[in-house]
Symmetry: C2
Subunit: 671 residues, 2 copies
């Protein structure tokens, strides 16, 4: 602990803005030059053009290695950076290879053929190639002609096919096409009735059918580009400036961020997207930084659509494991995605041929002046005196946006001076719609599995489940998971005029089975505590999970998509830390069969008391589309809070002073 | 509808900042001069000094009167303001009187003796008088002396006593006292073991016992005033300016606020606090304002503590009906409670003698630049083109803070350009604690009904339930309540490779019994719709309730406090509009017996389909205190959203332009 503290303090004092090369951290994602070196090393062994890089990421050092590195002096740390090793998952000769590359040794130090079910993440390149195939496919061109459309205005997109009990599961994608004439909103104009399957290893169409024709919904009313929309515009919103005479209040040093009482590392992975590591909070009373979160990221996103018909049943996406939540990052726009006081970070990933690709402005980091109240009290009970003490809240946000095809996910990690971490999710972007013959609900006599949004346009029902991996290390690695159940006590002995009250019955989970929680069944506070450390009054030091919605999957447990997404069956799971258990849906998710999920690992029912444990939390949304979601949807928000609970001896922001108002008296404004 | 639209448009065009007298509205709360006139009229009839004004508020005109007034021209409206009538609830000769005063007639037009159970709201004056009684009471002075304390540093406070099955329920309050030596945080230093009861009508102590002595917890560590705290301070937060070269983007005209696409009226009531009326949203496509909410306010707050012992069992407060959520308003502090760009409104209420009391800065109204994203999409599927369209969110907030003794409630009504209304609740302030002999949890062998927060200091478990009255009038008065249940369909006929999907089964509530909802049992979208109006595709026009927590009472249904708070037994109730059904806990709540609650009215099981209906929504918090909540608690937030759902034909913010960044190039800054 102490050495960890030392590390963070030194890191903070060690200022050097955004120059990761001068201040490397063992959890840093691969740099541009590292990607090149990995490419060179691997290409040397596999010169064939048919060899593709499906995933390249940090093979993160063991936790013990990281912790002992952190215990070194800064000088020693530079010299003793743990070996930079990377995991390359590749497709080669119809096999999935797991290759470990060591950069110091400049060589491959391990190669394994993946023998399990499922395939690695899809590359953007192969998806692009697959989506282009149809455009020069004779039967498709005929289908387009038959519909009276122009093939030059057709755009196709690729869709993972899932697994529905098939014995053989070739690596393939389905293709759906859209019409772009008159709009940039291609998702609004699907060519319904056509299905096509591409074999990815052979990169050719293996199945094509054109079963029926439905008119493509009209372009009118689908546009969302301001430059193409016609007046009237509105409602009018006016802007504010965000002047900070002293500049931003946070420091970004390589990938390490420090602000107010927080310090943490921001990583990036092509599959996970943002990874927050080593988050620790400064305790003013103890005068040291204290560990909270060793590593946290979104392990999987499961998005099942609810239309069981031919062209839709398979749409049960795993946005991380199949598409890469990091690979799908959108470059953030200054002043709209992020405020004027934001700082941006780029990210890199490897394309199919192994070359580094830069994502400009993949992250932004900013202080949020949300105009919330941190704490307050007005006291009028004391004679001749009115006391009013108010502290306004400021927080630090790390924002990332991933656009997986039609949907945009806004992911916020928000750090609060009170010690809370708020995890925010915003859903926006464009609905997947189905073309139909209907223009009015009056005409509908069957189940259309969605909402009629406009003429011939059905927004299909679906869910979003986000599963967070949260390796909380509360004041050290050995932690326990405690349910503090709130239970009604009925008074029977007439010792009080009350007939009832509620009591807190704490229960420490011994094994994984004790820690599977479905919200809404029983009121409980859920805590990760350090049973080896107590506060002065003797309370267990901990952090509490505060959900803000209760959503459970509605598919039956034995349905194929749900078997693959069994990790969503509970809102909360706790597992003992295991370096290999990172991906809730398993390592190879495309066409997976659900035999390598969190749901399966947890069946071992391992001991989790006073161990290094990982909390898995799933939040969800059932989405019944409404007309307001068309042609682009206003953000729907969700999230949860990790809140210190008897972690501090008392209110950690008691001695915060509200920021002074900033006045700009002599300004020539300009909007 | 059209006439309503006209009204709002005219109101907006009718600018006159904060001059309610020039632009009176029939829903305006009583003005200072109206209070004086009411006082004069009533005092003329009841000159006795023993006559007290317990409540004075607007006796709001009938809905039909309001709606027909709104249909007049502006000129005609000034001349035809409905009669200004007010309800005075008074105590006189040990009776509760309900007096209707008409200001035009300058007379009392109706008087009724309240014959039911319970008493009217407590006045601040009588609470103050009651709390002072003990300080000159011999036995109490002896009790203080016995504890080695100084009576000049004791402050007492009053607590409603509830009802626990007693046949006789005199109007009385319990008194608890605190020690202020060395701290302003009196709640942290209770004098445990002493109980006193004051008869309010006789204003004298009728019961006094000193049963045991527990040392008063120490003052150290309880202070929260910045001026009294010792360094180190921190963490340091830096401020921002909020320059708006064009000033705030909203207009306050009397009590009517207009901003972006919203217009509404902000009222105030000594019992309810803030009341939002006639909220309507401008539909860019239809080019008119459309009705959303006729009237919304917090009808009751129920705060039961969970310690059944002698001095605590009765602590089951009704913060509106007993204490007055409006009466408890705190004056808002510029720059901390509200941002630099806020506009403030004062409020008035009548004190016990009928004279107006001003609450300075009772409301603030401000544009919130929360740095959220209103909607966005990045499109990479179109060849040779990357589209990124992002709109940043801005909303308008009406904020009000009520400090009921120790607790501070931050109440936000937030209006979003997307048509959503977000209702926010922040809990902060000071915990009620009990003095105990313990300094460490190791010593505790019994149930202490709370958390040991510091030496001898127990934070007692409790709940907060807030019940909102929401008279939604979606595009007109006649509305229905629709549950769109999400139901799993198991596929049995092998028509699809899927084994299941979920379907939406809509159910329109016929009577009140159909509309009692306990969250967490069944997934459903809950809507208030206008069954008489449909969108172009034929969907019912509506607004959806999106909760963000699931909390239910844990007291047994037949426990006395829960009988009085039966309105919290469901998260949602729907009743037909009835002018007299405003207060979920009944009209006279102090010592009430639960025979006049929403729970009882709803037993009539009236028809609610295609009627003018009211939605009642209860959100709650179970509060297991933690050390972080001491000596003052960081805000714990909750809330819910009312979101348009097939109310608009499409995304109502599609044509919003993000505010332009405001630059301040030539500034001399000053912090």
């Amino acid at each position: 602990m102490k050495l960890f503290t030392l590390f963070v303090l030194i890191t903070i004092l060690w200022g050097c803005a955004q120059c990761s090369s001068n201040n490397p951290h063992p959890l840093d994602p691969p740099t541009r030059s590292e990607f090149k070196l990995i490419q060179t090393i691997v290409r040397r062994a596999y010169p064939s053009h048919s060899f593709t890089f499906q995933y390249v990421g940090l093979d993160e050092p063991d936790k013990t290695t990281i912790l002992s590195w952190l215990s070194l002096t800064p000088q020693a740390r530079i010299k003793n950076l743990p070996p930079r090793q990377f995991l390359v998952i590749a497709r080669y000769q119809k096999q999935s290879l797991e290759i470990i590359v060591d950069l110091a040794a400049k060589s491959i130090i391990g190669t394994k053929v993946y023998e399990g079910h499922g395939y690695p993440m899809l590359t953007l390149d192969e998806q692009y190639l697959a989506s282009e195939l149809l455009l020069s496919y004779g039967a498709f061109k005929e289908s387009v002609r038959k519909r009276g459309l122009n093939v030059s205005e057709v755009v196709c997109s690729t869709f993972s096919v899932g697994w529905f009990g098939e014995v053989k599961t070739p690596r393939s994608l389905k293709i759906k096409c859209y019409y772009t004439n008159g709009t940039a909103n291609l998702y609004a104009r699907p060519l319904e009735g056509i299905s096509a399957v591409v074999d990815l290893d052979e990169m050719r169409i293996v199945d094509y059918t054109d079963r029926f024709i439905v008119a493509v919904p009209k372009a009118e009313g689908t546009e969302y580009r301001a430059s193409k929309l016609k007046p009237p515009f509105g409602p009018k919103l006016n802007g504010i400036g965000v002047p900070q005479h002293a500049g931003p209040g946070f420091n970004v040093d390589g990938h390490t961020v420090s602000w107010a009482n927080w310090a943490f590392h921001v990583g990036f992975d092509i599959r996970a997207g943002p990874i927050i590591s080593l988050a620790s909070v400064y305790d003013l009373e103890k005068q040291k930084y204290r560990q909270v979160l060793y590593r946290g990221f979104i392990s999987e996103l499961f998005v099942p659509y609810q239309d069981p018909t031919e062209d839709w049943y398979y749409q049960t996406y795993f946005d991380s494991g199949e598409y890469g939540f990091g690979q799908s990052a959108s470059s953030l726009q200054p002043f709209t995605d992020c405020p004027a006081n934001a700082v941006f970070l780029d990210a890199y990933y490897a394309s199919a041929d192994g070359s580094p690709v830069k994502i400009h402005n993949a992250f932004c980091i900013f202080e949020r002046h949300s105009v919330d109240i941190m704490w307050r009290h007005t006291e009028i009970a004391i004679p001749n005196e009115v006391i009013t003490e108010v502290r306004s809240d400021v927080s630090l946000v790390v924002r990332f946006v991933s656009t997986v095809g039609n949907y945009d996910y806004v992911i916020d990690w928000e750090f609060k001076p009170s010690g809370s971490i708020k995890l925010g999710v915003g859903l926006t972007g464009i609905l997947e719609v189905k073309a139909g013959k209907y223009t009015n609900t009056d005409q509908i006599k069957e189940d259309i599995y969605g909402t009629l949004l406009a003429d011939n346009t059905i927004g299909i029902y679906h869910d979003h489940f986000l599963t967070y991996y949260l390796d909380l290390d509360i004041d050290g690695e050995d932690n326990s998971f405690v349910k503090t159940n709130l239970e009604t006590v009925r008074v029977k002995d007439h010792t009080t005029p009350r007939k009832s009250y509620w009591a807190v019955v704490s229960e420490t989970a011994k094994t994984e089975a004790d820690a599977r929680i479905k919200f809404g069944v029983k009121p409980a506070d859920l805590l990760v505590v350090n049973p080896n450390r107590k506060t002065k009054p003797g309370n267990k030091i901990g952090y509490r999970l505060i959900p803000n919605s209760v959503v459970h999957p509605l598919l039956v447990n034995d349905d194929y998509p749900q078997v693959r997404a069994a990790f969503t069956n509970y809102n909360v799971w706790v597992t003992p830390y295991n370096k290999s258990e990172k991906w809730a849906a398993g390592s190879c998710v495309d066409r997976s069969r659900g035999d390598d999920t969190l749901g399966v690992w947890s069946l071992r029912d391992r001991e989790i008391e006073n161990k290094d444990i990982v909390l898995w939390y799933t939040l969800g949304f059932h989405h019944v589309p409404s007309q307001e979601d068309f042609p682009v949807m206003p953000t729907l928000s969700g999230g949860f809070e990790l809140r210190p609970t008897n972690f501090f001896e008392n209110n950690p922001v008691l001695k915060v002073k509200s920021p002074k108002p900033v006045h700009w008296p002599n300004c020539t404004s300009q909007s």
